[in-house]
């Protein structure tokens, strides 16, 4: 019996994208409804898949009914399902925020949005290295367009940089895939894992090079030091809903690092085992430091959140970089937290900027804003959340990461950097928040934006902030069900560190003609 649910996360956004493209452009409400319905379906599909893989089984879906390693397979394991669920959740909130108005700032927002999800979901599910490249390209091209959605000078500049550097990255990806194929003669990741483990000593150096080039590609997507430079401007200048969705984008890089360097170049990889161990942890720690320096140096909130995203990727990859079960499990707990928190802050920053007239989100004393109380409270909570202060999920994540670091040789480094950067983050966020909320001057409230009044009537502030609150609620959910979730992530981590099951599930797949 073929489990078709494996491919739902790919088919649904694809069909949604196509239908939204074919739908008459004038029926905005209709398109919004369709778009939301589609995301709801994806959420359901991801949830079902998560439930299915929770049994421990790995579902392999042979596309075109060609047996691996010849055809392309989708592989749904715990990790993939986890990523799918996180993506669907954050996308739902981003979309809910976008349908309030920013979706009509440019053409084809909804189609692009769903195709972006197609790229993300496809990347999480695929079991084929070249296919991963293809879905990278989908998610990248969609992200280029979404990034530029609505237009504007700064957006264009940031977009240009983002596009060009990613094009170079794509080229590098192909060089790496090509080399691997040229040496090992296969593209299926499970098969590659087998072939890499049995590689000839003559080929070891070349395989290493290919593996490391891949690392550069994934590090670029993940915005790991020194390849993070594209991110601050790109995330700070794009539309809020898009920035919120992009909170998951860097995690694709992290996902790929985790997948490829546990499966293909992991502990079982013989002569090239633990290929990036020497690189990942130091770079991740430095990324964390640089990200936090950026948050300290930021002069506006959205920029600060962008740097927080970088810092969170540093933290996440620190966890993965420990290359032990507890570390990976901790990272997998931290991943949704940082995604939700980052997304929520991007959305909130937009709400704040919209109310501060020309001050926007600059860290300068401005007017007292409408709904100061509720926005301030949310900001305070989200700041504590992302800074990793108790009792929210950020703290749990950080705690788990540090706990995982205890047996690690680099414990002093990890603990020192994580704790000190935590302090700096606290200082940075307290400064920014106090500047915007506490130093608000004059009790007058400005009404400058033409649509501002409409946006700020009582009902719409609820819908405006609802996505933020949902994201916050997800984080609280992470806290409350931390037990179940850490159990899931721990088993996931052990599944990743023992890739035999994955490899066998893929390579022993029986294809019925």
């Amino acid at each position: 019996m073929i489990n078709h649910i494996v491919i739902f996360p790919v088919i649904l956004p694809l069909l949604a994208g196509i239908l939204l493209l074919l739908m008459p452009q004038r029926h905005l409400l209709f398109r919004r409804a369709a778009s939301l319905a589609a995301i709801a379906l994806q959420l359901a599909a991801a949830g079902l898949l998560l439930n299915a893989v929770n049994s421990g089984a790995i579902f392999v879906y042979a596309l075109g009914n060609w047996s691996p390693p010849f055809g392309i397979v989708l592989v749904a394991d715990r990790l993939a399902a986890w990523m799918l669920v996180v993506t669907a959740l954050v996308a739902t909130c981003a979309l809910l925020y976008a349908v309030r108005g920013t979706d009509k700032d440019g053409a084809h927002f909804h189609a692009l949005f769903h195709l972006q999800l197609l790229g993300l979901n496809g990347a999480f599910l695929t079991g084929d290295l070249f296919n991963l490249f293809v879905f990278f390209e989908i998610l990248l091209l969609a992200s280029y367009s979404l990034l530029l959605h609505g237009g504007g000078r700064l957006k264009t500049k940031a977009g240009l940089h983002f596009v060009v550097i990613n094009l170079v990255g794509s080229t590098l990806f192909l060089f790496a895939v090509g080399t691997l194929y040229g040496l090992l003669g296969t593209l299926n990741m499970a098969d590659l894992a087998v072939k890499v483990a049995g590689a000839q000593t003559e080929d070891v150096a070349l395989i290493q090079i290919a593996g490391l080039l891949l690392f550069a590609v994934f590090a670029l997507k993940a915005a790991l030091l020194p390849l993070y430079l594209w991110l601050p401007a790109a995330y700070a200048h794009t539309t809020a809903a898009v920035a919120a969705l992009f909170a998951i984008m860097t995690k694709v890089g992290a996902y790929c690092i985790l997948r490829v360097y546990t499966l293909i170049f992991g502990t079982q990889a013989g002569p090239v085992s633990n290929l990036i161990e020497a690189w990942l942890l130091p770079l991740a720690l430095m990324t964390l430091i640089i990200g936090v320096f950026g948050t300290l140096a930021s002069t506006r909130l959205r920029q600060q959140v962008a740097y927080l995203v970088i810092a969170s990727i540093g933290t996440l990859l620190t966890a993965f970089g420990m290359n032990n079960e507890a570390g990976i499990a901790a990272g997998l707990f931290y991943l949704p937290h940082s995604t939700f928190a980052g997304a929520a802050l991007f959305l909130l920053a937009d709400c704040i900027a919209n109310r501060r007239d020309v001050m926007e989100d600059q860290f300068e004393p401005g007017p007292i804003i409408q709904q100061q109380r509720i926005l301030g409270t949310l900001f305070f909570i989200l700041a504590a959340l992302i800074a990793g202060l108790p009792p929210l999920s950020g703290f749990i994540g950080k705690f788990l990461i540090l706990q995982a670091a205890l047996p690690h040789a680099a414990l002093p480094w990890i603990m020192g950097v994580v704790l000190i950067t935590g302090l700096f983050t606290l200082i940075a966020l307290a400064r920014g928040g106090s500047m915007m909320f506490y130093r608000a001057q004059a009790p007058h409230i400005c009404h400058i934006h033409p649509d501002a009044n409409l946006q700020r009537s009582g009902i719409s502030v609820t819908t405006e902030l609802a996505p933020v609150v949902y994201l916050l609620a997800f984080c609280i959910g992470l806290l409350i069900w931390a037990g179940a979730i850490t159990e899931y992530t721990t088993v996931t981590a052990s599944q990743l560190l023992q890739p035999e099951l994955y490899i066998q599930s893929v390579l022993n797949l029986e294809v019925k003609q």
Binding site: F130, L141, V164, L167, T171, G178, T179, Y181
Partner: protein, 109 residues
């Protein structure tokens, strides 16, 4: 022949890298095109060099070129075509919005 191909790949890569490091959008686009040529050739020859034996099944052929890299390159060509088109238009937009075609929107006289 292998050496020749390697050199070609190397030169195309070098030219692509050099051009993509330039400060104006147009040479950068040229550079990206070069890089895609380079990598397409690289991918193709990863199935090793075969002359005169296209992977088209017929009774006379003794052996065939590896068809898989070719399929991959075809995909890569089309993708890079889409990407190139996008970046061309984007650079046009950037030029319009920034008043010059410097990649960083800066104009150095």
């Amino acid at each position: 022949m292998e050496l020749l191909v390697s050199i070609i790949i190397g030169v195309l890569t070098a030219c692509g890298v050099y051009l993509s490091l330039r400060g104006r959008t147009f040479p950068v686009v040229l550079g990206l095109t070069f890089l895609s040529y380079a990598v397409n050739l690289f991918l193709l020859v990863m199935g090793r060099l075969t002359i005169g034996n296209p992977p088209i099944i017929n009774d006379n052929a003794a052996n065939y070129a590896d068809p898989l890299p070719q399929a991959l390159v075809l995909t890569a060509i089309v993708i890079s075509f889409g990407m190139t088109a996008f970046v061309i238009i984007l650079s046009l937009k950037a030029f319009l919005e920034m008043g010059n075609d410097q990649v960083d929107g800066k104009h150095r006289p």
